[in-house]
Amino acid sequence: MRSPATRQRQSPVRSDHAPRRPGGRLGRTGFWAVLLTVLLVVSVLYAVTFGPADITAQDAWASIVHHLGLGGSGTGDLTPLRDGIVWQLRFPRVLTAAAVGAGLALSGAIMQAVTRNPLADPYLLGLSSGASLGAVAVILLGATLFVSAAAFLGAVLALLITLVLAGAAGPITPTRTVLAGLAVSSLFAAATSLVIFWTAAGDSYREILSWLLGSLSGADWPAVAIAVGAVLIVGLPLMASARTLDSFAFGDTAAAALGVNVPAARWVILAATALLTGAMVSVSGSIGFVGLILPHAVRLLTGPRHRSLLPLSALAGAVFLIWTDTAARTLFEPRELPVGIITALVGAPVFAIVMMRRKKMS
């Protein structure tokens, strides 16, 4: 039976226990936020100095400072060619990598919460196969200028079909979402394979393969605009859904009992996340593992609450993709690996470790 203690309702209940975890956890989140932000800035500035052309860090920074209008003293002894390499190739590429990494990690964290499935990733709703079909089709038609647009349209089409399919049978439950995404993915993947099988020849094979595995080699300023724009316009507002995502922890019914409009919230969050992913896919192909792994890694650092998970995942994703992409373009110079290979090579072992940690924790 209850001890009499619970009946002392009039007595002060503040225990002498020092204020607990709030301090601890917010402090930890703040620590990681500062650390990752510093790391992100340093990574951007440092990663531009890597590359086949022999460009020193000072040269690279001089070029950036000049173009940003901060220095004003011109590019000094930097030749136009070297200046071009930094400003037209490396810098946009690093920025695109950062934005895509942030967008994918954020999408992954949200997808995992909305579907309550730790294996969910940003491409869950058939996005990558939809984008692939669009991209492959235009590559084969020779219209490589429109790859981004076609990929985005393909992703949106796949998303719409998935949501309609998931919603057709009743409320959009996590299971239904995953199953509908699976069906759409399979269909679009089959269509992509069919198209490649019948028409691809010679160079287009490599181009397609690179796209399917995920690559940032096409990153230019328009790509930066798309990726950064999507993170700012769609990603930042999505972070405001943190509390709603928290309420899904014990399931849809529990969330509804806490005053959350579950079907509407799930629909809006899924659609916004998919648009974010669609924008990412359109500039980089489908880079695997970033959206799956990083949210798990961040959960191990600061716990599963989304108010810290979402921003930290985005920061960690940005740093992670900057460096994996730097490795992809420099490890086997002059050949370039699709960055998706590196993220998978790094991601798979990390994922195994995460799984083992989870097992220990539960």
């Binding site: 209850r2 619970t6 007595s11 509390r243 019914t253 509804a256 009992a257 959960r299």
Partner: protein, 298 residues
């Protein structure tokens, strides 16, 4: 902060209202699950919802919390329509304790209780710190203060149940709906949970709990509502409702209802159904079926 934070929110019994259900109807896949349920529940009481499996107990709780939507009928609390209320306002009045609340996430006890504050949180600027006092009070009320940093997943069934109660209390509800709160708990945790329910109702919270164990209802409930096939078979004061006739009628089980020697509450003593599970013929009852079949189970 003091306990009064919680108590001011947890309704002064005099000003709180009654819960009334009127001809509530709910269909699942065209089958009637709740078939015109009407009931009145007085504020600050414990009401046990009993009935065989599939009678609609869980569904009825979910209809009151509007985690399921009734097809017709009305549910009023203190004279206001609970079903047409904005969801956050409703969530600030009604808390639902589900059966076997489970999460995959590595949430701490504090995180879980903090979820109870969801209906009260406004916008991104709303800080966790604004809610610490209520969360702390809820934790200490359940004796879980020292568990705040523990992972929910590492707790025992009884401890989890306490955390779920604390989460519900953090919602500062006037009406607490519990779906089989003693499920999967050992006997000590069961009794502690039920004592807690009693305790909460004494502080003014109206509790409606779906219960399987009739002796739990007999010992702790002020009122019993008996559901069968989605209808109210009978409802009323516990002593008046829980009779051998009712138990035979609803569960096809023969039972005696005696007075508990110490508490004076009804105590139900079952006869094993003759058709199955009875004392086997020819077996030595003392050896084959120790005590259980011969003396009351509880």
């Amino acid at each position: 902060m003091t306990a009064s934070t919680l108590d001011t929110a947890a309704v002064d019994p005099a000003s709180s209202g009654r819960l009334s259900l009127t001809r509530v109807l709910f269909r699942r896949d065209s089958a009637l699950v709740i078939d015109g349920v009407s009931a009145t529940i007085e504020p600050g009481t414990v009401t046990a919802l009993i009935g065989p499996n599939g009678a609609g107990k869980t569904t009825l709780l979910h209809l009151i919390a509007k985690t399921l939507t009734a097809e017709s009928g009305s549910i009023e609390y203190a004279g206001t329509d609970l079903l047409r209320m904005p969801r956050r306002r409703r969530a600030a009045i009604v808390a639902l304790g589900e059966q076997d609340a489970f999460t995959d996430l590595a949430l701490t006890v504090f995180d879980v209780v903090m979820l109870g504050r969801t209906p009260y949180r406004r916008g991104f600027a709303d800080s966790d710190a604004d809610h610490f006092a209520v969360v702390d009070t809820a934790l200490s009320r359940l004796g879980m203060t020292d568990f705040a940093d523990r992972l929910y997943g590492t707790l025992s069934g009884g401890e989890r149940q306490r955390v779920n109660f604390a989460r519900a209390l953090a919602q500062q509800p006037q009406l607490l709906l519990l779906d089989e709160p003693t499920n999967h708990l050992d006997i000590r945790a069961q009794l502690e949970t039920l004592a807690l329910v009693r305790d909460l109702s004494e502080s003014g919270i109206t509790v409606v709990a779906a219960l399987h164990d009739l002796n739990h209802a007999a010992a702790y409930a002020d009122q019993v509502i008996v559901l069968a096939e989605g209808r109210v078979l009978t409802a009323g004061r516990t002593v008046e409702v829980l009779t051998p006739e009712l138990i035979r009628g609803v569960y096809s089980v023969t039972a005696d209802v005696v007075r508990h020697p110490r508490t004076g509450r009804p105590l139900i003593i079952y006869d094993a159904p003759a058709s199955r599970g009875g004392v086997p013929d020819g077996a030595d009852p003392d050896a084959a079926v120790p005590d259980a079949a011969l003396t009351p189970a509880r």
